[in-house]
Each structure stands twice: as C-alpha cells, then as structure tokens.
C-alpha cells in the first residue's frame, strides 16, 4: 500500500485573466493526504481549493507539477480513467434518470453485472437512507435527499478517494449540521479517504482529521483542527479561523518557548508562546482569542494582567461579548455565562473598570509583516 492516498508535488495551475494576464490559481502546492483521512481544503472563494480538487479529479490538468493518486502519477489522464469520484456542489444529478439509474450509472460504465449492480446500489442507498426511493426522479426529492443521491452515486464505485466540492453548501443550516455528522460517521464506516472542499471553517473543524488552510493559491498551514485553531502559524490563519485580537509588537527577549514582546500601543510588555525562534527586535503580531481573556475583579499574580475600561457588553445567552479598552486599544473579550442569574451586573453589564488576565500560553506570537 502506498504511503499516501493522494500526493501533490509542486503543483501549479495557471489561468488567463480577463485582462489578458495570467494568475496562478494554485501556486506551488505540495500536499500529502494519508489513507483513510478526512482531509479538508479550507479557504475563501478564489483561494484555489476547488481548482486543487478539480486537478485531483482530472477536470483540470496542472500547468506544472504532478498529482499522484496512490503511487500513480496522473499526468493528463482524463477523469474517467482515475480511481476517484466527486460529489458536486450542484449535485449534477441526471434528471432523465431515476435515483436507481443515477447510482447505477457509474457501475454500468465499469460493465458490472446486473445482479451486482442491483445489490451494490441497494446497499449504498440503504447506507445513505434512501432505500425505497429507487424509482423516484431526482426532481421529486428534497435538497438533502438529492445530496444523498449524489453521495451514493460516487460512493457506490468504491473510489480510493472521494472528492467533495462544498457538497453541503446548498442545504439549510440545521440540515447541514446533521449531514456534517452523518458524513463523518459514513467516512469512518467506509474507510475511504475523503477530500472535502469548504469555505465554512466550522464545518472543516467539525469534520476533518486534518485541514489545509489555503489563501491566494498557497497552503498557509496544514494541521489537525485543534492545531489550526490553537496554534495557527501565521496572522492569516489566526484571522481566518475563529475570532481573535491582534497586537503588534517587537520581541524583547525569548527563551524556553516563551517570548516577551514589547507592545508600544498598550505601552506594556506581554509574554506569549511561539512555534518558532525569534531574535530580539523581530517584529511580531500577538494573537489572543477573545474567549481566552479572563475578566477579573482584582489584579492577579500573572504575567499578563491589565486594567481595562469596559466599553460595551452584549449578552448572547451562552456568552457575554464585551469590548474593553486597554490603553486605547479595543479588545474583544468573551466571557462564558456559567452562573444562572438574572442580575445583569453578574455579566459585567454595569462595570466600568475591570482587570483582564491572559495566561502566556493563550498569547500566540506570530511573525509580523
């Protein structure tokens, strides 16, 4: 068995622009996707995630570099010769065929015997909970059901890799959440490698074993969801995934994995953690997640403790979202409402001044620009 289900080696895809120039939609991407992994390509529109997926599927060919499926270089192989299948964003169901015919289509192309087609289609339709719908037309199905047909149609071929191009984008929020969990458990059940394209960070965090965050054709970071969220490697990823506060500063001293950073705007020094070595004087950006800042009534024995003015507090049920002023710098602070009370003061509604306390491991030191 090859080491990777899919491997991209220095892949570039260039498209002409309407202005007559050229743009690298995918810009020197290296990527290794392990067997049986649920891998997500995450990024905003135009970041190259769909182009990357389409090059694995064979709808596009790399301008340079090579796509490997298993250990086979794909070169300019057309899609119908690749052992991968795609679930399309638009589902792309054949409206002139029944559900059964749609799912059977791929097997017919492989010249599978009728009995085998019948049993495999039956099995996969059961797996996606569409048994009994065999004779319906796709038109007669709801959006969620059509999505399942698209999934069944691709899965029935038992591809080595299943490619999913924002398959949940057209569903409403509730159904989407359901399908996320279902897809994840389905993937565990069948053990097929899934490559999932999405612009929805929550979706990617929920489902993936590993995520590649993409921007402007490049992969900014590979990592497990917890790694991507807790230890982003650059300002872009920290900003793209979840919410955060940024403070710009200069390295004052470093050692033992912690870095002391002088932040001129708050006229103070903060201690944080870093993934890489910094020299004294390096420009850096501090990223502090709003839920990791604690509001306290009295200053604590902590390396990062500041007096702030509470400017705004919005009660949203589970949390109270505050905006505090630290020496003129606005910080987002999310406090969990872990006590049930009708007293608004408990949620800092009335407080004017308070202390914030931030543990050093909650301050991430990222390279500055």
């Amino acid at each position: 068995m090859p080491d990777f289900a899919v491997e991209l080696r220095d892949v570039v895809k260039t498209f002409p622009t309407p202005e007559g120039g050229y743009v690298n939609a995918v810009d020197h991407v290296d990527m290794q996707i392990k067997n049986g992994e649920f891998f997500s390509l995450l990024g905003s529109s135009g970041c190259g995630k769909t182009t990357t997926l389409r090059m694995i599927a064979g709808f596009e060919w790399p301008t340079s570099g090579e796509v490997y499926i298993g250990d086979q270089g794909q070169g300019r192989k057309p899609p119908f010769q690749r052992p991968v299948n795609t679930v399309f964003q638009s589902y792309a169901l054949f409206q002139h065929m029944t559900v059964f015919q749609n799912v059977a289509f791929g097997l017919e192309m492989e010249k599978t015997s009728n009995e085998e087609i019948k049993s495999r289609v039956g099995k996969v339709l059961e797996m996606v909970k569409l048994n009994g719908m065999e004779r319906r037309s796709p038109r007669q199905l709801s959006g969620g059901q059509q999505q399942r047909v698209a999934l069944a149609r691709a899965l029935v071929k038992l591809p080595t890799v299943l490619l999913l191009d924002e398959p949940l984008g057209a569903l409403d929020l509730k159904l989407r959440k359901e399908m996320q969990l279902e897809l994840k458990s389905l993937q565990r059940e069948v053990g097929i490698t899934f490559i999932f394209v999405t612009h929805d960070q929550e979706e990617a965090l929920t489902m993936s074993d590993r995520i590649a965050v993409m921007s402007l054709g490049k992969v900014m970071q590979f990592g497990a969801p917890v790694e991507i969220y807790e230890r982003p490697n650059c300002k872009f990823v920290a900003d793209f995934i979840g919410e955060t506060n940024f403070l710009e500063g200069v390295v004052q001293s470093s050692g033992d994995g912690t870095v002391r950073v002088q932040v001129p705007r708050v006229n103070s020094t903060l201690t944080g953690v870093a993934r890489q070595e910094y020299k004294v004087g390096d420009p850096v950006v501090l990223s502090i997640r709003p839920e990791k800042i604690r509001l306290v009534e009295t200053p604590q024995l902590n390396q990062n403790c500041f007096e702030v003015i509470v400017r705004n507090a919005a009660y949203i049920g589970s949390d109270t979202r505050l905006e505090v002023d630290l020496n003129g710098v606005k910080l987002k602070v999310w406090e969990q409402n872990h006590i049930s009370t009708l007293d608004p003061r408990a949620y800092h509604q009335g407080t004017q001044t308070a202390w914030v306390s931030i543990m050093p491991e909650n301050i991430l030191v990222l390279p500055g620009e």
Partner: protein, 307 residues
C-alpha cells in the same frame, strides 16, 4: 361600466385575446369549415362548386378511378396514393437528414464560448433574411446541368485530366431533398441548441467522473437531455415539409409531385377546388395523426420553454 370592467378579469382577458381570436376565427376556423364543405361538393363545368354531398373526391384520392385503360367501369389508380406516400417519405427523409446535420452543429455552438455562440447563431440566422423562394432559386443555379456545382466538378476533373460529363441534378427527387434540408436546417438547429445550452457543464463532468468516456456521455447524457429540442425541431420541420410545394416546384419540376403541388394545381391549373379541398383535408388529417402519435411518445418538447 368602466368600474365593472376593472373588476372583471374574465372580460379583461377576453378583450386582450380578441384581436387574435378574430384573426383565428376569420382566417382559420371559417376557411377550414368552407374547405370541408367544398371537399364534399362537385366541380361545375366552369370550375365553380356545386354544393352537394358526394364522397367522389375522397374516393379519387384513395385510388378509385372511372377512366380505366382496360375498359372496366372502375379500377384502382395509385397516382394520388403514390403522391401522398412520396410526400410523407420525403418529409421523413428531410427530417432525419436535418437532425443528423443540425445536431452536431448545435452541439458545437452550445459548447463554444458565449461570445462565439452569438456569432455562430447569427450565421445560422443570416440566410433567413433572404426570401425563401429566392433561396430555392439559388439552389437551381447551383444544381442545374450548366450550374455552379457541375462547373466546379468539371474544373476539378480537368485538373486531373479525367473526362467529365455534367450530371443532371436538377429536377430529381435528390434536388428536392437537398433544397428541403437546406431550407429547414435553421428550424432544427435553434431548438436543439436551446436544449443543449441548458445542460449544465457539471453533468458532463459528472458523467466523466463516473467513468463514461466522451462517446458514452453523448449517448447516455447529452442525447437524452436534449431530446426536447429534437422533438420541437422535428415538429417545426416535418409539418411544413409535408405541405410545401415551392421547393418541389422549382427544384423538382414536373417530375417530383408532392401533395402540396397537387393541391396548388387543383386550385390554379385544373380549376377543381373540390378535389383540392379534399386533398388539403387529407394532408391535414395525416399530419395531425403523425404529430399526435409522435407527441404522445415524446411530448411537444415543451421542456425547452419550461425548465
């Protein structure tokens, strides 16, 4: 009164369709009734109509003849049956040929970039700016014995020192077929293009993704999904070809007589409006029957408009 009109949507609707309604009643329903009445009449000596009830005209059309060469009182004369069968056959040939020519072209146009599509569609429509009859005459210039095509063939043969005698192409069933195919091609290209253009590119990708090579994609996905266009085109081509007489008149001369020519001659040359009316009705009924069975099987191609 005005208030009442504002409130009553039925009256409003009636007023809106009134011009069309008058047009249809005056120029379709009444003439159709007149034609039916006349078809059961008898021709008078001066080419007028004696209104009576006789089935003679229909009997003649179906081969009943009283002028027999063997001296019998009545016999079977296949003349008119032959004409009808020939018309039907020619319409069928034309339609099939037009589909075969139009489909690849429509596919090509539908798969081009949007900018080029406009240019190609424009080119399909340009010939329609010239009058139908003039275009048929142009084909006469091309096909006649001393015409363009024979001239080109002769020049080509001359290049290779092959002896060449010009073909007699004009006034043959083949010439009529060529003319028909040419005249009706745009009416097939446009509806097929419309239905092909609606097929989302992701469907072709899905077919390829599931293992279908381009040929199988065409037969399993493209063709079935564009059938509404083929059906609509067939209706637009088959029905007019069944009744047309200009192409056969100009390119077929006396040799290729179709139902359309037969009807035209009964009214203009033979001065027998009763027989002409009967032939018209038979043509109409035949076309209706064919269309009925065809549309029952394939629909009207209404998805072209509906989707």
């Amino acid at each position: 009164m005005l208030q009442k009109l504002r409130e009553n949507q039925n009256i409003q609707g009636l007023i809106l369709i009134l011009p069309t309604l008058l047009f249809m009643v005056g120029l379709l329903i009444i003439p159709l009734i007149l034609t039916t009445v006349v078809s059961f009449g008898r021709r008078s000596a001066d080419g007028g109509v004696i209104y009576t009830f006789t089935l003679d005209n229909y009997a003649r059309l179906f081969g009943y003849s009283t002028t027999c060469t063997n001296g019998a009182a009545s016999c079977f004369d296949p003349l008119y049956v032959d004409i009808t069968v020939r018309s039907f056959w020619l319409a069928l040939e034309t339609t099939v040929l037009v589909i075969l020519l139009a489909y690849p072209l429509a596919y090509f146009i539908a798969r081009s970039t949007p900018k080029r599509r406009t240019t190609f569609l424009f080119m399909v429509l340009v010939p329609l700016w010239t009058n139908f009859v003039i275009r048929v005459y142009a084909w006469m210039m091309i096909l006649r014995t001393q015409g363009v095509l024979n001239g080109l063939l002769g020049a080509f043969a001359g290049l290779f020192h092959i002896p060449f005698t010009p073909f007699d192409m004009l006034y043959t069933p083949g010439a009529v077929l060529v003319g028909m195919v040419y005249e009706f091609l745009p009416f097939m290209i446009l509806p097929i293009y419309t239905s092909l253009e609606k097929i989302d590119n992701s469907l072709y990708e899905a077919a390829a993704d599931l293992g279908a090579n381009p040929l199988r994609t065409i037969f399993r996905v493209t063709l079935p999904l564009s059938m509404p266009g083929v059906v609509a085109g067939t209706i637009l081509v088959f029905i007019p070809v069944m009744g047309t007489f200009i192409v056969s008149d100009i390119l077929g001369g006396q040799k290729v007589m179709l139902v359309g020519n037969l009807i035209q001659r009964q009214f203009l040359d033979a001065r027998d409006p009763t027989f002409g009316s009967a032939a018209s009705l038979i043509l109409m009924v035949m076309t209706l029957i064919v269309t009925y069975f065809y549309t029952r099987k394939f629909g009207f191609g209404e998805e072209i408009i509906a989707v």
